[in-house]
Symmetry: C2
Subunit: 277 residues, 2 copies
């Protein structure tokens, strides 16, 4: 790809606003949609969401767990969704939270972050439990192919807090260590960097100046998880426009399955987010 | 399944010894085997390893990244490997290090830990970055179907150390928090529990009495990663026999592709581990 992920994302955010729609085809959603809890139900759901939010959302975020639950057949649907989204010029952030030792992360880089990857997405979420430095092969593959990586820093759920706020030997909290490490990697880029972090909208502002990231934020936690648009605006008030991608899933998905319902809900969220951020 | 994972694993460990063989079909391995770096190469490799170590190893541990790198086609190979391993009465531990919020973890549970799962394995590795408590749906699914979960506590690589040794608000290090949380869940089981942890053999003994886990340990880090059999023996010297599953991957895999080479290497490791533990 000619441009970096950071540059492409920022253009899209400025054009369409900060909305990212989560494609979370859980059993509960398919049930609410009166669709079978099967790979056919999954495919119907994924493509219906894509169709409804094209031109409204800046990106979609398929939650990989809800594809993996159908094994290889679910992954075939994910491959199709990614292709179709690219044809529709929607950015795709795969929410996979992958992460392992560096030797193994090369395998994940081959899966998601190369031009020839079967699941080639615009960006991938990764988990730093084995160390941010161990994620090197993922950063390298992303940088080489104009893709991005979002490292999970502080999540929207309460159960992760005690680990994410634990203090390292240097008295830095884990979430700030992640924020700082990712920010350091963005200093070499011109324009918005391609390495971002996941930062839950339900969390307090970290001890890190969010305006110095020089990379994008992926923000879950709105709607069903308890945060609202004002929480996001407050958390990122000092950040440049076009750096925050806000994920909304259940609050839009359960307005389906009809296109009208999905589209109206997505537009409402887009407008609210645009106005606030 | 009639018995719990813990009971089945302990029987197997007492019968065959502690060896688990990692199925890590990286590009480097396929190259060393003079096989194409393709899904055909992957399938050849996975089935050759399975065939060679049946009757020698207690379990195999497919590293999911090396299947995911071929997308849905790679997952079809993984599905076949799991089926064939079960037919050969080898336990399968999928090394996926999955982990997300609880709502999403239900999707991963459906993928890996139910009788009807497309990727139904004996046990799954999971990552606690979003909190051990958020992994609840995975523990519940495993307990209900006689399967197991290994939570990553302290890994074999050095990059993870500062996070895993960070101290929570209660002054407990993250790795000990994971060990303690998992041990608490095993107290309700008779015999060996089905919830274990991943503990790298390259690491110092944690501030937790490993003999009180009442669940199994999955131990990476031998051979290519620097630890040896004596390190494992020292780390687990106070643990009951039949509670430690020791993974060896590259040191066996690169002795292939011929059956003879793989088998001889696997037998050597099995004998050394059996004698030491």
């Amino acid at each position: 790809m000619a441009e970096t992920f950071g540059v492409r994302l920022q253009e899209r955010l400025r054009e369409l606003g900060p909305l990212c729609v989560g494609v979370d085809a859980s059993s509960a959603l398919l049930d609410a949609w009166h669709r079978p809890d099967s790979v056919e139900g999954l495919e119907f759901c994924a493509l219906a969401v894509l169709e409804a939010v094209t031109g409204v959302a800046a990106a979609i975020k398929p939650q990989v767990a809800f594809f993996e639950r159908f094994g290889s057949a679910g992954y075939r649907v994910l491959e199709r969704l990614i292709r179709d989204a690219h044809d529709a010029e929607l950015l795709v952030v795969a929410d996979a939270k992958r992460g392992d030792v560096d030797w193994t992360n090369e395998g994940y880089a081959q899966a998601w972050l190369r031009d020839e990857s079967p699941l080639a997405v615009d960006a991938l979420t990764v988990s730093p439990y084995l160390g941010v430095a161990a994620l090197g092969p993922l950063f390298d593959a992303a940088a080489a192919s104009g893709r991005g990586v979002f490292v999970v820093a502080a999540t929207s759920n309460s159960e992760g807090r005690s680990l994410q706020e634990a203090r390292t030997f240097e008295q830095e909290r884990v979430q700030e260590m992640v924020l700082r490490s990712v920010a350091e990697m963005n200093q070499r880029d011109e324009g918005l960097g391609s390495f971002g972090v996941v930062l839950g909208a339900t969390r307090d502002a970290p001890d890190f100046d969010l305006a110095t990231m020089r990379g994008p934020y992926l923000v879950p936690g709105l709607g069903a998880q308890g945060a609202d648009v004002k929480d996001v605006a407050r958390l990122f008030e000092r950040c440049e426009q076009g750096t925050v991608l806000v994920n909304v899933a259940r609050a839009i998905l359960f307005a389906g399955p009809e296109r009208r319902g999905l589209l109206d809900a997505a537009r409402r969220w887009r407008d609210d987010l645009r106005e606030a951020l």
